[in-house]
Symmetry: C2
Subunit: 445 residues, 2 copies
């Protein structure tokens, strides 16, 4: 991207210059006529969720679907047909067949919901073929992968959106609204994380994982065996990055990461299947709790906890703290100095959720109703589709995808080196200093 | 301390060898007759709190009281006289007059409640004079100070107790009970901190601090101006150290510390007194939130937050997490797999507080009623007095005092070096591997 260009100019310029985006077959005639033609790579649980949700819209077409499992493609095709659309072409011919999908000339964008380690290859292939890449979280699992996404997007002029739905959680967006109205004062500290007991996801059925197991146990468990780090940062860090204007006036500068011992998964296996089960001998690399502390250019610090191997209720553990007030999602509370009725005493967040409901939620609550994960899935898909229709950068762009996802490999390095601080790459090459915040300002998407 | 000796043997051996403790004037005749003769150094807010509480006991005498302020000593003397005891000798002749108190031959122990930077000098002087040192938190502010305490205690054979009251908080002790009964499984991760809005303590009255100000604003504020680190770790880390058997089979190995920018205090001054007030120009060193992550020898990690400059309700932010269950004080909840009625759902902690009430609380609840900080002040003073009467090591000993307090200077070094990991000194010189847990096992103290 040329210096001084903002995202919107960049995409328009790319289009004007006859780059990939401009060759996409969709011609903008008017808001009502615009459609996004989407291909789906990966239609397991998550991909099917995206597909079902998007099929409720009138402004999308689904010419192609890809999955290594034929029955997944068949099920997806049936959903498309049931929605009154033509039967999509299916791509099921092995792990590399997605490359045949992305080069079709009847697609504007591709939704990628595959195992983590495939995200970069698929998003890069999509961008190189001129298709908007909508990639599930995390976007990459290595530093090189993050750079590949950024470099490819810059070289092709094609956007890549990270499909981080939690940025659109209703309370998360209300807090964004509260923050932008200044009620927290100047933010100094945030906390977030992924505290989700995944034992029944990592082992399914019983204590099985790998080929032949169900759902994410097929591939996700391997990451717990081989890797020790903050493996899943974006649900927590995405919203925090929006609060802190990361890549838009601020950036992540460095992190330290520390891992506890790994005990939970083995304990689970032994209780479920006994000490003599072969899986009871596995040495898991992933610490049960991994705590990462990030320092930002503007002086804020952010704590991120990854916590998926032991029994506890689900929480993303948000805490946003400034000179005038604080939101504490762990106890569902807020405290604003001078506004909260009782000094040094929490107020329930509920009334703030109503008063500061984000304009996007006010406008689209009805459309979001029934969408996955409390409605937030609607918004992230909506943003992807609307960005494609307008041929603009999506609100969560390739620099966000890289800066949020790179936490994982950096935390692995920090842990491997005894919690040594690791610097973040600056994927924007200095443009973070000049970029302006852009997430969820309008009422459109 | 000689290798292979446990604490109790150590004190008994010291006494038998005619060391300082043995020359103390109190002779054990029987439980009912034993008394602890206590001197008080520092009778401001906190020291007076200890004094008032201890005067309710029949087993203590107070022959001497010291403070640089004569009116403080007068007030303390009056309290002693009102309790039916002889008027104590007062020491008010400047900052070094405490040295004349500690050498009296009618004292067994000294309670030290002075500004942090005096704790080491006073505790060392007390131990050298053969008096049990009971020192308020933190015990020291430097690494050398921690070593001075340990070396002096070992060389003199005289114990030093850190008066960390939160170890005796009723819910904290119930959790200790739950943990020892195995309900959490194997502990992997803990969180704690000191999240206390101290702005009205650091500035009092108005935005004043330093000489002429009130209470702790006289001296404590200077630490926020000059130091950037985890300044007050022991209220949080004390209970966690007991949970994790620190110095007794486990130890703190290393930490990283990261500080946010410092904004809260200046914002407070400007709002209270305007931009033109001279204090509005102060550059505070202390980050508003300082997050420290400690790695333990047995593989647990502990997050500690110091957070005193912005508006928020008080919390020590406890979280104790194992392979089978978790206590989350931030939302007043607990979850024990297989016991909690609803899967993945918090239970209120209240019923556990009743069921797992610690034997010490069951026994002494009546005596503790009305004591400071919800009754826990009774227990810490009780433990100090009972240890003196029995001539044994106190349950929170000089190694605990050092290991918990050294977090502060280590965190300052880590922050100054960009969150570089800092190793903990092993104050026990390897004995942590053989020492057995000893805190709050009996029903006596």
């Amino acid at each position: 991207m040329k210096e001084g260009m903002n995202r919107r100019e960049f995409v328009k310029a790319s289009a004007a210059a006859g780059l990939a985006v401009a060759t996409a077959p969709n011609i903008v005639k008017g808001v009502d006529d615009r459609k996004a033609k989407l291909g789906f790579i990966g239609v397991g649980g998550r991909g099917t969720g995206h597909l079902s949700l998007l099929l409720r819209r009138k402004d999308i077409e689904v010419p192609a679907v890809c999955d290594i499992k034929k029955d997944a493609v068949d099920r997806a095709s049936e959903l498309v047909v049931k929605s009154g659309r033509p039967k999509p072409t299916g791509y099921t011919n092995g792990e590399e067949d997605f490359r045949n999908l992305v080069v079709r000339d009847d697609l504007d964008g591709v939704v990628i919901s595959t195992p983590w380690e495939w995200h970069v290859a698929m998003a890069v292939a999509a961008m190189k073929a001129g298709k908007y890449a909508g990639v599930e979280v995390p976007a990459a699992t290595t530093i090189d992968g993050c750079w590949d996404l950024v470099n490819t997007s810059e070289q092709t002029g094609v956007p890549c959106m990270l499909l981080e739905n939690v940025c659109y959680r209703r309370d998360v967006m209300a807090v964004l609204n509260i923050l932008r109205q200044g009620l927290f004062g100047e933010i100094v500290h945030c906390e977030c994380g992924y505290r989700h007991d995944l034992r029944e996801v990592k082992f399914n059925p019983g204590v099985q994982f790998g080929p032949g197991a169900n759902g994410e146990a097929v591939w996700r468990t391997a990451h717990s065996i081989k890797r020790n780090g903050e493996l899943y940062p974006t649900h927590g860090i995405g919203p925090i990055a929006e609060y802190l204007d990361i890549n838009r006036g601020n950036r992540f500068v460095s992190l330290t990461s520390t891992a506890s011992k790994a005990r939970g998964l083995r304990d689970y296996i032994i209780r479920k299947a006994g000490e003599n089960h072969p899986n009871a001998k596995i040495e898991f690399a992933l610490g049960d709790v991994v705590t990462t502390v990030i320092k930002c250019a503007n002086g804020e610090i952010v704590t991120v906890n990854h916590d998926t191997n032991t029994p506890h209720p689900y929480s993303l553990g948000f805490r946003v703290q400034g000179t005038r007030g604080i939101w504490n999602d762990v106890n569902g509370s807020i405290y604003i100095e001078g506004r909260s009725p009782k000094e040094h005493t929490w107020e329930p967040f509920d009334s703030y959720l109503k008063e500061f409901d984000h304009p996007l939620w006010k406008k689209y609550a009805e459309e979001a109703a029934g969408a996955g994960h409390g409605g937030m899935d609607f918004f992230v898909a909506h943003a992807f589709v609307e960005s494609i229709k307008r041929k603009v950068q999506p609100p969560i762009d390739v620099y966000d995808a890289a800066a949020w996802s790179v936490i994982t490999p950096l935390s692995e390095q920090s842990i491997a080196q005894g919690s040594t601080p690791m610097p973040f790459p600056d994927f924007t090459d200095g443009r973070w200093m000049y970029n302006k915040p852009s997430f969820a300002f309008g009422e459109e998407y």
